[in-house]
Symmetry: C2
Subunit: 352 residues, 2 copies
């Protein structure tokens, strides 16, 4: 009796164990399978983050990067001595600012929100409407941009820089063999070389490289929703954007949802082609969670609202609150690691 | 003959050696003597730089310093989201700015030049006219100062900070046991604690500690001229200033030399005592070479000009160009070493 009872108990326990553990095991296996599938799908779509964003026109050298990283903080080359790159691209706010539209010299408003310069050199062009061909072009034109540095001409910038021995030495080191290295063109090359190093790998890249635990449950659900909804058809490539121009408001006018005060005709201002009305460059989504307010005019404060509006007017899809939150969670996995050297304030050369 | 000739030659050489080397030796010994004397004299006058600038009202803790170092960079608590401590106190420019008068929210001009916050907590009071009792008082009042952060009240600042989880966690850690730690008072304590650590030892301190080679020849001559002229009667203590109020323009009105556009009545605005007309706090001279333009209104660009004017109108002495240059060289030995942690940009909490 004892033996039988014992056996019966053992069988019962095994059945109980099977009832309890097999579904758990199945869930775990299924999740692992789903994770692997999601990872593989994402990797196919987004590829792998490169180590830098080189340009054949402006090779990256340590001396140029050092000079560029210093000039990035330099306000004395602006017309009112208040504007430096870092004014509109504060590094602690992921190199964007927290304003609807960037503010330049003498409180002049720029036409659009300051885009982050992290990962920016990966794009087909710079600025929301692609009116700057490269990070170097952007940097150079900013010096004489009326709502930016506002200098009257490049010679005025060069004169200020030449007046500081510290800069003359740094330009000479960064552009060896040049007779007159302190030029606006070399300012642009130095700042550009610095920006070409500004890549911010994140938890999402860890996930793509096989660490399934790098993303949380909501982030994985959000990634799946991001792919299933079709967001990645524009936000493509390893930087999730920056590779094409698209009309903002395919299904409905954007201002209906963004409540934008003024309607911006976008790239039409550059090309004058009627089909470019309301067309903007698709922005890079890396670090997007850290850089509100959203869109070219900073008209939307919350990331979930921005996600919902994008699905609605670009893809004609209504996301529910949970889906929008999941996508926002996924987007937060794109918040990257900023290299310590980038977060170091350079001591600027003396004027005395 | 040979021997005699040899001896004669030897004697001649010894005489020659004595003629050549004794004066050199004397100069070296005299210089060493002079250096030691100068060092001893300077040490008696200036004392030793302390390791921190504590306050019994606001003990320095690592958590408070960390929070303060972060809040120092935070623009989202200003009325137009452009003003943070670092706006007027950029660390790469030795925590002053390069403007004649500081510019706050919406391009509003402050009444005077932004003083550096390095070593500032050592002073008898803050601001040029001593209308802030401490660095904490300065930080708190800046939040609602109309030309500064411009917030309508402290509650508005607290509301913004409470909206960011990252800050709630940091305030809770910095002010343990407090029920409602996210307050403007605690903002002031955190920023104050950070500022109380901002001491910048320099080559001059190395010299005072016995390293005579830490100062160059012109710097030593400048130090001697600084002492002989009487500059140290006001620029006293280990920070070379910040310990008293003095009339600016004892011998002649300052505006005659500074060409100031507007005459500032200084501390009279605080005390309404007639004797306080044109009285200002004697500024700390540490890092002065790195922080032009000079004086309360930034009216003078060059350090040598500022030195010449000070000798003329404060002490009634005419320095020649070499003396002014030597004093400027000495002042450049007060350009300090900024701790690496202070030169690190904090990543700011997310609004999402």
């Amino acid at each position: 009796m004892t033996t039988t009872s014992h056996n019966t108990n053992r069988s019962g326990l095994m059945i109980l164990a099977a009832i309890v553990f097999i579904p758990i095991l199945a869930t775990v296996l299924y999740a692992a399978d789903t994770d692997a599938e999601l990872m593989s799908r994402a990797k196919t779509i987004f590829g792998t983050l490169p180590a830098s964003m080189p340009s054949p026109d402006n090779p990256i050298t340590p001396e140029k990067v050092k000079l560029g990283a210093t000039l990035f903080w330099e306000p004395r080359i602006s017309v009112d001595r208040t504007v430096s790159c870092v004014k509109c691209h504060p590094l602690g706010l992921y190199a964007s600012d927290c304003l609807r539209k960037a503010i330049g010299n003498n409180c002049k408003e720029n036409p659009r929100k300051a885009p982050t310069i992290f990962n920016a050199a990966s794009q087909i062009s710079e600025h929301w409407i692609g009116n700057r061909s490269s990070v170097e072009d952007q940097a150079k034109q900013a010096l004489i941009g009326p709502p930016s540095y506002g200098m009257p001409d490049y010679a005025s910038v060069e004169k200020v820089l030449k007046g500081m021995k510290g800069y003359v030495a740094m330009f000479t080191a960064a552009f060896p063999g040049e007779k007159d290295p302190v030029t606006a063109d070399n300012f642009a090359k130095a700042v550009g070389a610095f920006e070409r190093t500004l890549i911010t790998p994140s938890a999402f890249d860890d996930f793509l490289q096989g660490k399934t635990a790098a993303l949380t449950g909501p982030q994985k659900r959000g990634l799946k929703t991001f792919l299933d909804t079709g967001c990645m058809s524009c936000h493509s490539g390893p930087f999730l954007g920056g590779q094409m121009y698209q009309k903002f408001g395919v299904f409905e006018p954007y201002e209906k949802y963004t409540k934008s005060v003024k309607v911006d005709e976008g790239r039409f201002a550059v090309t004058k082609v009627p089909g470019d009305k309301f067309v903007f460059k698709v922005p890079v989504l890396r670090n997007v969670a850290m850089a509100p307010p959203y869109f070219h005019d900073g008209s939307v404060d919350k990331l979930t609202d921005a996600v919902t509006i994008m699905a609605k007017i670009q893809l004609g899809k209504n996301l529910n609150a949970e889906q929008a939150e999941d996508i926002a969670a996924f987007l937060s996995s794109l918040t990257g690691r900023i290299p310590q050297a980038v977060l170091t304030v350079p001591v600027l050369p003396s004027e005395n």
